[in-house]
Every structure is written in C-alpha cells, then in structure tokens.
C-alpha cells in the first residue's frame, strides 16, 4: 500500500510540475544577447483601383438560378437529347426539376429558336456562345408559351408540356431546348443542374403505360444586372452570378526587401450587400498585368478566400502575409483582384465603402534574426 502511495505522490508532483511548464513568462529573454529591431506597423491605402461588372458563363454551375428582382434577372436554359424520341403516341409529357433553394416564384417556359444554337460553356445573357450574340439579349425563343408555373413545390417541380403533334415536332426537331423566363417578382429559386446526379433536370415522355426519360444534355442560367453600372474609378463592388470585380493596388515599395512580413491584413469595410444565401465566399487573385482594365489578366488560382456572413460582418478581412512577402521580396506587385467566389455560384454582391472609410492594408514587419555567432 505504501508503495502505491509513493507512486501516486511522485505522479502528482510530476503533473504539478507539468502545469508550471505551461507558463510563458519572459525568463531568460535578456540572456539572448542578440541585436533585434522593433517591429514596424504601417497602413497602406490603395494607390490604384478599378471596378467593373461583366457577364460570366454560368453553365458549369451546380445549380441553376431562376428569378428576378429590381437589380437582377436570371433565366434558365435546358436542352434534352431528343434525337431518338418517338413523338407519336405520346399521352403525357412532363418536365421534372429539383429545387435546391425553394422560393415561390412564377415563370414561363418557351422553346428556344432553332437558329439560336447555344453552348453550355459559353452562353451568357448577350451571346449564345463565343462570338455569336443572341438576336435579342436574354435568349432567342419562340413567342409560344408551352408552360406557365405559378407555384413551386419544395421537393420537386413537375409540370406538363403540350402534347400536340406540332409542339412535339418543334421540341424534337425545331428548337434548341427550353428557356425558363421568370415573371415579375422579387424572388429567386435554384434548381439542381445536370452536374448533380439523380437530381438533374429530366423530361419524361409517357406512352400509355410506358415512358421514356431523358436527362438534360445541356443546361445553364444567364444573368443580367439591371441598371447596375459601377463607377470604375470610385466604386468597389464584388459579386457573383453577374460578377463584379474590383482591382486594388497598394504601393509597398517603402518596405525593405529583406524583412519578414509578420502581419498583413487587408480590411474591406462593407457598405451594403445582397445575397440569395446567408453566406458566400469572397476570393482574391493576383493580378498579372501592370495596368487595370476589364482586359487585365489575373492568376487562375485564387490566392485567398474568406466567408462573408451578411447578417453580422461589417468588415471583410484577409491575411495577405505571403502575398505581401512576395511583393516585397520579388518586386512583382501588380495588385489584387477581388470578387465573389465562385463567380457562378448563385447571385450575390457586396458594395465596399470608399474614400477615408474604404479598404486599407495594415502591414507589420520585422527584420530576420541575427545568427548565433
């Protein structure tokens, strides 16, 4: 018994000593005896900036957005591979969509004109594909309503199309899929695109007791921003769906190139925001050209990203230590590009404060330590 008592005593002493080791007091620091400089913290304001909005191909998105409000309108385009379908004997024709974000929107479905072929990877509001504009911005469709939906169910959206021989023939041979146009309203809904297996858009041809199902072969949504034209040299907007991009440049030439960047926070004060979701991501890319314009190229891979919580965040903060270290060390500072990420994810927008209350970059740096000898 005595033996175990002794063991317990030793163990208790060791645990007690271990707690003492957690202390972080500066004992012995004076003995270091190395020459050290104090850290320097400085604040930089942008010396150059540029903001623009642009149509962006959204065909690769996982979710299709449909709806409109005072600022945005988003339409959906869906094409089915109907080359092999038999149009005689059709007793019912249904389209099935799976909503992700359910909102009670109203929309109308039209067939897309045969002459207006569109490509999923490059279709945008004002063009069917690269180099081929629509006849009318927003998609070319026959002015023939094939379906009008007044309410959406939360789990799936199923609606019927006409089964007249004329429409079936148009659908198979004389159109390039269907376009979904939102009616007036203030809401947006999202649907699973064909990238989401088992939840992709479908069309079902029923022949009495049998049926054939076709999954979407192409789908995309096209977004237009209505009456939203930022001043390129004053405003600082970031957005997705209809992307707004802001480029900023900070002149950090005053920082010696042999220092270690210990702190580099880019602070973006938020003036207002709009988003279909509670949160969305904002990314930073390195600019590769020396001048700012809509044609300025930037790195494919984003350098950093952070999540923005619209309800609570009034500042967007990025840790740019590695980037600033790179600027300082290599003298290749062409600036940064800010945008929502990914740009094809739903619709969101942030307007940043400008002027005195606008973005700033706070940098702290130290000189590297001296060697032991």
């Amino acid at each position: 018994m005595q033996k175990y008592h002794n063991i317990f005593f030793i163990f208790s002493c060791l645990v007690f000593l271990s707690f003492l080791t957690c202390d972080k007091t500066p004992v012995g620091y004076n003995e270091l005896g190395r020459e050290m400089t104090e850290p320097i913290f400085t604040e930089f304001r942008p010396v150059d900036k540029f903001c623009y909005g642009k149509y962006s191909p959204l065909g690769a998105a996982d979710y299709l957005v449909l709806g409109k409000n005072n600022e945005y309108e988003s339409r959906m385009l869906i094409q089915f591979p109907l080359d092999t379908v038999t149009i005689s004997g059709v007793t019912n024709l249904k389209v099935v969509l799976y909503p992700k974000h359910y909102n009670n929107i109203k929309f109308t479905v039209y067939p897309i004109m045969k002459i207006s072929e569109w490509q999923e990877g490059s279709v945008i509001w004002n063009r069917a594909y690269e180099g081929q504009p629509w006849l009318i911005n927003g998609g070319d469709y026959y002015n023939r309503i094939v379906a009008r939906i007044d309410s959406l169910a939360s789990d799936s959206c199923v609606f019927s199309l006409p089964i007249t021989s004329g429409f079936l023939d148009t659908l198979k041979n004389n159109c390039n899929g269907l376009i979904f146009v939102p009616d007036s309203g203030e809401n947006f809904a999202t649907f699973n695109s064909r990238a989401i297996s088992n939840k992709e858009p479908k069309i079902i041809f029923e022949y009495g007791t049998t049926s054939r199902t076709f999954k979407a072969s192409n789908d995309a949504h096209i977004v237009n921003a209505v009456n939203m034209n930022p001043n390129s040299y004053i405003d600082m907007w970031l957005g997705a769906g209809y992307p707004f991009r802001t480029m900023l440049k900070f002149n950090v030439d005053s920082i010696p190139n042999n220092v270690t960047i210990a702190y580099a926070e880019l602070v973006l004060p938020v003036q207002s925001y709009y988003s279909m979701s509670d949160t969305f991501d904002i990314g930073i890319w390195k600019v590769l050209d020396s001048t700012f314009s809509q044609q300025t190229s930037f790195a494919d891979a984003r350098f950093a990203q952070t999540q923005f919580f619209g309800a609570t965040d009034t500042l967007i903060i990025f840790d740019l230590r590695n980037l600033v270290q790179n600027w300082v060390t290599t003298d290749t500072n062409f600036g940064i590009l800010l945008s929502c990420f990914p740009e094809n994810y739903e619709i969101s927008r942030v307007k940043l404060k400008t002027g005195t209350f606008g973005p700033y970059l706070k940098i702290g740096y130290i000189t590297p330590p001296k060697g032991r000898f």
């Binding site: 042999n258 590297p368 032991r372």
Partner: protein, 415 residues
Amino acid sequence: MNMRNINPKLQIPNPKQYQNSNSKIYYKFLDLVIGICLVLSVSILGFPQSGFGQSFFSMRGFGEEVLYTDAVSGSLGGLVSLSRENPAYPITLNKTSFYANVLSGFVYGQDSTAKRMIYDIRPIMVQGKIPLPYQSRFGLKISEIFNQNFNIYSDSLLFSGYWTRRHIIGKGGIYQLGANLSKSFFNNKLSIGGEYLRLFGQGLEQWYFEVLNGNYITLDSVVNAYSAHHLKFGISSDISFIKFALSAEDFLPGLINCKVMSHNSIVDSVVGLKFDMPYGIGLGIIVDKLPQTKFYLDIFYRNWSKATINNLPISYVQNSTKISLGVEHWLTDYSSIRVGLRYYTTYLLDHTNTQIKEIALTGGSSFMIPKFGYLDYSLEIIQRNGKETKETIGRLNLSLSYEEIWKKRTRRWGY
C-alpha cells in the same frame, strides 16, 4: 578505479545468492522502474504545450557544456577525469560493456520579474568498449558535448496598437562520435589511453513572432552546423590507496556554417566560419582507505579565454573550472550509494558580463540487473546563477550498463 568495474570484491554474482541476500533490492528496483515509467510517460504525453529546454543560458555561446554524461559521475558531483570521459578509464576491462544514458530535468528559472519552468529529456551518451589482448581495450562512443536546447518568450509588447511577442526555441547541439584505445601497464597499475572524436551537430533556432491581434505567427529560423575534431588523452593509476587520473583534451580548428532562413528562403548565410575551442585539463583523485567507502576529488579546467571565432577572441566567455567532491559507500557488494558536491564556474558570461556559476548537490545509487549489468541513477539539485537570471535545476540521469564476459568456446578435436 572509482567504481564497481575495478572493485576487486565484485564478481558476477550467483543469482540464487543474489536473490536470497538482496531480495529487498528487487522491490526497490521495481519501484524505480515504475518511477522511470511514470517520468517517461509524463515526459512524452504530458508536455505538448511545454517548452523543451535545458537551460535559460543555452542560447549563448556554444550552449550548455556537457562535461560528464553518466549517472555514476553525476552522482559523485560530476566527475570528468574519473569517468568514462577519460579514455584511460577503467584501468582494467575484462568484460565487453555497453552504456546508454538518458538525461532529464526540470529547470526552474527566475529573474527579477518572472518565473518559469522548462523541461527536458534527451539521450546523452551511448558507448561500447571491448577488451583486447595485451591488456588493452577499444571503445566507440557518441555523446553530447554542447547542448543548445532552450525555450524562451519575450514579454508581450505593444507596437502601434498591436500586441506582439517573440517565442524562440532552440534545438540540437554539438555531438561527438569517436573511438578510443587504451592499454594497462605494470600489472594493471597504470593505464594510458587516447581518443579521437569527430564533432558534428546542428543547432536549430526557431524564432516565432506572434502578433496577438489576430493570432498571426511568423517563423524565421537560424541554423548553425558544426564540424571539428576533438582529441583526448588520459592516464589512470591504481598504485596505492590514493589513486589518481589525469586527462587532457584539445580541439582542432573547426567550422561553423550559419544560415538565417526567413519566409522559406535563405536571407543570410556564412559558410566556413572558423572556430577554435580551447584545451582542457583535468585531475581526479580517489582515496580508497576505508573498506567500503571511497572519497573522490575531481577538478577540470578549460582555458576558454583562448577560444576564437574567425581568429577573434570571444567576448562572452571566460576560463571555466569545475571542482567536484564525492563519497561512495558500498552497502553490499552490488549496491552503493553516492553523494557529491560540485562548484562550477561555467565558460559563459551572462548579458551583464557576469560569469555564470553553479553549485550542485548530487546523489545516486546503483542497482544490479542480474545477467545484464547495472542501472545507475543520479539526482542533482543544481543552483546556477547569472547576475539577473537564476536557475534551479532538478536533474535525473539514468545509465543503463550492460556488462558481459566473452564466452570462451572450447573446441575439441574429433567432434
């Protein structure tokens, strides 16, 4: 010489006799093993947040000098000439022997404003020796000679509204790997030995700079790689009840390669920095007049004022002297207790140019492990003082010794 290896009374015991006469030792041994397991388990599992470090002075000079490595020496005040650091030790060797040492310790540091404890555990020496014909023996050794483990924090300081703190961790040190050869003369009354050791090692300093607003941590590193040659010479004698040992050592000029790494690139480097460490001499005396008790005196001096870096004297070093006194009392043929005292003026000056000195009270014992060898331990309570910074060190040194006689195989013709 000083310890069991030359005690003529010591023979390989009959295990039965051992069990009968020393059964209590088993229990003591069991207690010790459990204690060691606890120490090691707490060391390994319980200190993820704690700092590793041997001394709050280790960031100066070459670090903390390791003059002795084994627990027997440690328990007798820290012997140098009367220990395996002397290549002429022991005078006789009729067994193949292996030794391994682990050193652990708590260092409680304090200065005028703060107190802090750091902890360290590390292997410190592995050595093997084999007897050769003509009363000679050959050994190989790897051991630590300078320790550069440290772990210090700066105060939290406010700059432009930002709280910052430095945290600097040192790891590594200078080690030596070498071979020694010695021979006994005059019917094992005198032994002479020499040792060549190649110095190598690397000290890594990790300089963390913390900006507490936002919890940003930046890391810079300082790496020093060392190489040099170390020569030792020793004499041991067993002529009368007063036995003595002499040791002398010197270094050939060595090289240091330094580099400072920041943001994953080398921002400063020095290749081939020459350094010359000074010679050291030691004298040890054993008084073996009483039947079961021996008295030890060991003095070691190193002429640090001759040390240079790039042929320039080093400003923060001073000649060092260590004086150790010890008493060893054999309780049984296989177990002894030891106590010792040490006064040591180290080679380093602190930041106020005051020489760092230490006083140590030491003790220890041996336990025989049947059919294997010995487990020795030493406990040292050390007070090490600069002008402002003071350290109280509790150090545990464990030595495991394996000793065995070569088994002679008799060959019979016709079988």
